[in-house]
Subunit: 286 residues, 2 copies
């Protein structure tokens, strides 16, 4: 049994992602409960059929019943939670998370858990610009990539259970990556893109530019609408990898700049052709 309809799942943290997990799993017929900080989030989740029941405190009954607990919290909140409440998890429970960076949480969590409780790190490459359970939507998982990030401490059983969770959510391509490779990948694909969009909007100080804009600028800056609390934490949690990717990107940007300045059209076209060729691999397959 990896994940079947008898598996009881508890979601800790009912925000955008936690709510979307709860929706997707309930819709698939799983019995899902939830724990949130605010009673309103619990009420909302129950009223919208996302969870059977839930509580706005660390409810040992809900945790005790759960075979799988999904933590959908900010990294430092997740770590604090485990330090304070980890002992309430029942031996035999598998826990997983949705944290976008892994090195900063996975080892600390794994060493803080009681014997018999296993943490397998994972997350979907999915999200929204808005936060809060009222924006949750299980369609964000459709065609999304899902990444499992095991360490040497993980069992095959937990890794397989976690892959099954990604499939159950509706994700398309389920991958397994080690922690360091994962955090490098995230620095490039996700964090660097947010840095670029934020920098571009900070450079955008002319008034009325929205009257002239086209879709390319809109698409590129969609993620410039950013949750500053969460992303500043994630950037610092993966600082070294992110700085390396920022510098590598900047070197390419500078190269293109100098190519334009010197009027070297053939070199410019070469970079554009490389860009076009590489970009084709990223078209979405749903």
């Amino acid at each position: 049994m990896l994940l079947d309809k008898n598996t009881r799942i508890c979601i800790v943290g009912l925000g955008l992602l936690g709510g979307s997990y709860a929706s997707a799993l309930s819709r698939q017929g799983y019995r899902v409960t939830g724990i949130a900080r605010r009673q309103e989030s619990v009420d909302y989740a129950v009223a919208h059929g996302m969870i059977e029941r839930g509580s706005a405190f660390v409810d040992e009954e809900l945790l005790g019943e759960a075979d799988l607990v999904v933590f959908s919290l900010y990294p430092h909140v997740f770590i604090d939670w485990i330090h304070e409440n980890g002992s309430k998890l029942r031996p035999g429970t598998v826990i997983t998370d949705v944290t976008g960076v892994k090195g900063c949480v996975v080892y600390e969590i794994q060493k803080s858990l009681p014997k018999g409780v296993e943490f397998i790190a994972a997350h979907p490459m999915a999200g929204r610009e808005s936060s809060g359970i009222e924006y949750s939507d299980d369609r964000i998982f459709r065609g999304a990539n899902y990444i499992v990030v095991p360490t040497e401490a993980n069992s095959e059983r937990a890794i397989e259970m976690c892959k099954a969770l990604g499939e159950t959510l509706g994700c398309k391509d389920i991958s397994v990556l080690d922690v360091a490779s994962h955090d490098r990948m995230i620095a490039f694909l996700s964090q660097l893109t947010h840095c670029i969009a934020v920098s571009l909007m900070c450079a955008c100080d002319a008034p009325d530019l929205e009257r002239y804009t086209g879709d390319s600028f809109r698409d590129l800056t969609r993620i410039a609408n950013i949750n500053d609390e969460m992303w500043s934490e994630l950037f610092l949690a993966n600082k070294d990898a992110l700085l390396r990717e920022m510098d590598a990107y900047r070197a390419c940007f500078d190269e293109l700049r100098d190519t334009i300045a010197s009027g070297d059209r053939e070199k410019m076209r070469e970079m554009m052709r490389l860009s076009t060729k590489r970009r084709k691999r990223f078209d979405k397959k749903v």
Copy 2:
């Protein structure tokens, strides 16, 4: 009469944009003809009801009949065309274009035209990654911005006719900008974004990254699939303005990089909040 169903329109250049103009105008009941380099493009346009008739040479009969001629050509091809064939345009004709940069074409074209022929520069902020008439689609104009770029040589009548053309295509917000402001705006909103996307793909040399990617990377790099012939010409045609915008953006990117390196979370959040606030203005209103 600015633009009515008696206005005869000839499109010179039947590629992605020329074909989309022809489709939109024919669908609105205008009598549209076309001139293209390749007979296949003419045949395609006729077969798909985009034009009534057309020719694969510079047909003086078609030009003589037209009240409005729309040039959908690369900048240097447009200039060469006018130098070689401008004398074939009938006095009283208004001509316009779709060129994304203006300083490099508008003065040269205006001084090369025969007396009585007026060039009013304009373009929609719309396009596609693919080129060629078979990708043309008049839906690209829906909700798009349209910009008229007059010089002192232009008459009110031609400016109004050009605005009416933008509305007829289905564009949403019709603006008027002087040449220098236009080229600065284009350098920032369009050319810089393409430079960013190309640089990011050039920095993307790890294999298999597409297995892990999310929508933010996909959206940001959509325009990294780029027509190198056209864009290298446009970059060089607007080089000074583009280099200024690249440098201003790079200064913001460097500021964010240093903020992350020094761990100054409050400053990072300040940049993210500015970014979020500014980005909200750019949401599409259709």
